[in-house]
Assembly symmetry: C2
Homo-oligomer: 169 residues x 2
């Protein structure tokens, strides 16, 4: 019986209260990056820029980014849950760096209104997301997959940023 | 050994591929309600209404609603996962009804611009969410808790709707 109980605890252990707190932490950290970025909103300045082809209406960005922050927070949680912070310091370190570059973009584009500097930031962000995705895949395959929509969206966002820069330079 | 393996399968069974497909289905269904509602956006008409006290800036609604749709989809998934569709037809039926009332609200308020009719809808929505929450709690306590932020937000939204109606009637 003790073997059975031990296994039972192990299996349940993957969804205990520490694990739930971890989920809240990683989701909260990711959404916090979005919340910081949301202090810099597109205003009249943005509206009067020449808009690149394929620019979505402004209301699209809130829901899309919220879903992406939840996906990336879930991915980081999966890696952390399986390996711990010290066991996954490289992928989780990369993850934190990309979060900072992510929040910084809104400040550079909408805050100080510098599309050129914002493009440098989003290029660095793209590379860091790619590195995080590759690292995550080695630690938890599903976590890597969860970053794929994020990478695709940032590819699209980088195109928009480049075009805003070129068309309004 | 066969007992150990059976337990292992049972525990893993709660996160098999059918379960993941179910999560995608319930999240997708909930987000679809938001997507349908998003076809009716606040435009110039809304901007020129007398705004009630505490009205948040428009960009707040996208992220908040996205989080609420994800929470409610997760809640429905938990109930479905534990009891199946036939075993939880009452709570999941209530859940579908509240989703329809939810999407309908955007049509009534922003589509045909009738704050009075929209208020009737949101009052019915509030009652249906309350009934869904009570039913969910009996089938899966965590699922009930996940609906609490939604109920609180709709309480606030109903106040805003009522004030928009009174101030612009």
């Amino acid at each position: 019986m003790w073997i059975i109980e031990e296994i039972s605890v192990l299996k349940l252990g993957s969804f205990d209260s520490i694990s739930w707190l971890g989920l809240v932490f990683w989701l909260g950290l990711s959404l916090a990056a979005g919340w910081i970025g949301s202090h810099f909103q597109p205003g009249e300045w943005y509206k009067h820029l020449v808009q690149p082809a394929l620019t979505p209406p402004s209301w699209v960005f809130g829901p899309v980014w919220t879903i992406l922050y939840i996906l990336m927070g879930t991915a980081a949680w999966l890696v952390w849950q399986r390996h711990g912070l010290s066991g996954a310091i490289l992928p989780l370190g990369l993850f934190i760096i990309q979060l900072i570059l992510n929040a910084l973009w809104s400040y550079l584009f909408f805050g100080i209104r510098d599309p050129g500097l914002a493009f440098l930031d989003i290029a660095a962000l793209w590379l860091t997301i790619m590195a995080t995705l590759i690292a995550f895949r080695q630690y938890h395959p599903l976590a890597g997959q969860l970053l794929l929509p994020y990478l695709i969206w940032v590819t699209f966002a980088a195109y928009l940023n480049l075009q805003f820069w070129r068309l309004n330079g």
